[in-house]
Symmetry: D3
Subunit: 135 residues, 6 copies
């Protein structure tokens, strides 16, 4: 069968996330700065891995939104704060609700146990900012 | 917000899985035998954990099918064969396609790396049996 | 058999820990702030998990002190700084000696390997403050 | 402070465990056969690590029994069946009750999550045999 | 900088490994059978990942032998028996000595801790067969 | 066979690393301060483990440089920033090239998956400083 290959349609940009949330803004800026250093090193293998990574979350038999929420759940279970932040922002950009994000983290919590809780706490801080009502 | 609480509607039973697949049959039998031993021990905390675990996969803001596929992806990333088998069977019972199962494992593969491959191989053996054409 | 259900008798409070140790004080404050955000989200499943987590460390066939030291050992082996801090403070509140805490971390060190050492270093910084002689 | 250094007083031998439980018997035999192969290789570093590992579970500020139960909890959280079997047998030899063993596994279950369950099931099968009433 | 891209020169074949060692023979056969099932599923993403995985171990700034021994060390630290078997066989095919293989496992042992020992034992059983004197 | 026991010949000192790289300087200072606290606690078991850890990276059947690069790869796969920093500095002190360090991280990336990427980014920031041209 064919792997997915269609770029998702984002409802919002990374800049939207950064302007809505200070946590998102700081995360995205640090990530961008470090990725620039990685790009400068120009390692072919890393580029190929990044490319394959990007392709994992395309529209396919599962929607891009579902894949990003799945990425969130796996990242929370593996306890990677940067990965959690990234997939929360991506899911938000693709229109996932706050409750869908919480339920994805709950799957990680039950499978991964209380060791997930410190990461859950920080995830909820980002969710609170991204889904806050406009003032 | 309220956590999900509605039991999913299964399209097929565990017995259907066992009659379709030898791998499923052996897995379900061993799991049932061992769960009987756990039940006999009658440890209250374990019972409460099992109950909470069961509740994690109810219909909610995400469908039960999506949650089972998410459970598959997390289980593959955490490299737990029994958990992988369980969530593949549950997803199959809820009508997930073979490609949806493969894409869930792909998320685990890119996030978790080549260390996932031995488990992916065994997962594909179960998928091949469950989704084989009737003869 | 019955799971444990009796609240432990703490010899000291979280406030005592915070006044004795700057590391404890900062950890407890950040944890409290983030838990407030989690509480505000009011997710039923998370509440149930927190409740079950709380019940895990009750007096039982093992004392609450032993369970907290065990929680420390598991947390160190799983390399979770926040969890290590929490169980060190709880064990201190229940009267564990510094050497008992060190021996619990040693079990994590031998089972988990040198990858535990960065967390052991930070744990010892907290232990040094909590068990320092009054001036 | 001084690390522990006193050998524990075992109430029962490995042979007692093997005669009480088929699971224990098979585990101990396979382990012994493989350790013979490791011994034949005569790698100095491995010998030194084995020696340090042995010293971790001596009587100290924590009793040897508590350390073995702690080893069980860490092993269950890290999901290592051989390690779980070993520490269950050691704890049994040192007089731990079945409920103490269950509570040690419960700490691993809440911290490590449902991914621990397949290992918990197999642990309970060994516990059932070791703690069965004589006929 | 450019990633490595040159195929290594193997001194021995997989068939040589299988004829020298029963453990290798059984591992390679099971692996081949399961890979056939994966190939039949024809998932594009899995194929691309397998291809990238293959490219990771080409001759480069580090020799292919060093990379395979490094793969052995990482696999032992991550506790993946199939991966350990694979990299031991690959390192053997590229002319690594038994002691080089042992030292690679020792790095995993000190970093990963005693939880690595059950896998070390099984690794030594394969090493004993592959490096046995001809009779 | 005999384990390795010869101290490596460093081409550069830790002070050299600290004067070349701000990241290295801050890491080494924090590490030194925390190790002082660990030393003050004077726990015999920890001392013995530190000693064994030190011996793991001596010249042997594999060179000390290869062992440090292997330590880097394992540390990246196990996602330990402090361990990654340490082994990058050690490999640099022993004359490893930037590309050799990158290829060691690539082994961790393919085996450990995208969850390694946040650590890879930070590793590349340290590599960029250590291997920058003098001005």
């Amino acid at each position: 069968m064919q792997a997915s290959s269609k770029e998702p349609q984002y409802l919002k940009s990374e800049a939207d996330a950064a302007s809505k949330s200070l946590i998102a803004s700081q995360f995205l800026k640090t990530r961008s700065n470090l990725n620039q250093i990685v790009n400068n090193a120009d390692n072919n293998f890393v580029k190929r891995f990044y490319n394959l990574d990007h392709n994992s979350y395309m529209e396919g038999s599962l929607t891009a939104q579902t894949k990003e929420l799945m990425g969130l759940s796996v990242s929370a279970a593996l306890r990677c704060d940067d990965c959690i932040n990234y997939h929360i922002i991506q899911s938000w950009r693709l229109g996932a609700t706050k409750l869908q994000q919480e339920e994805s983290i709950n799957i990680a919590l039950i499978i991964g146990g209380s060791i997930v809780i410190p990461h859950l706490r920080r995830a909820y801080a980002l969710l609170a900012e991204l889904y806050s009502d406009p003032q």
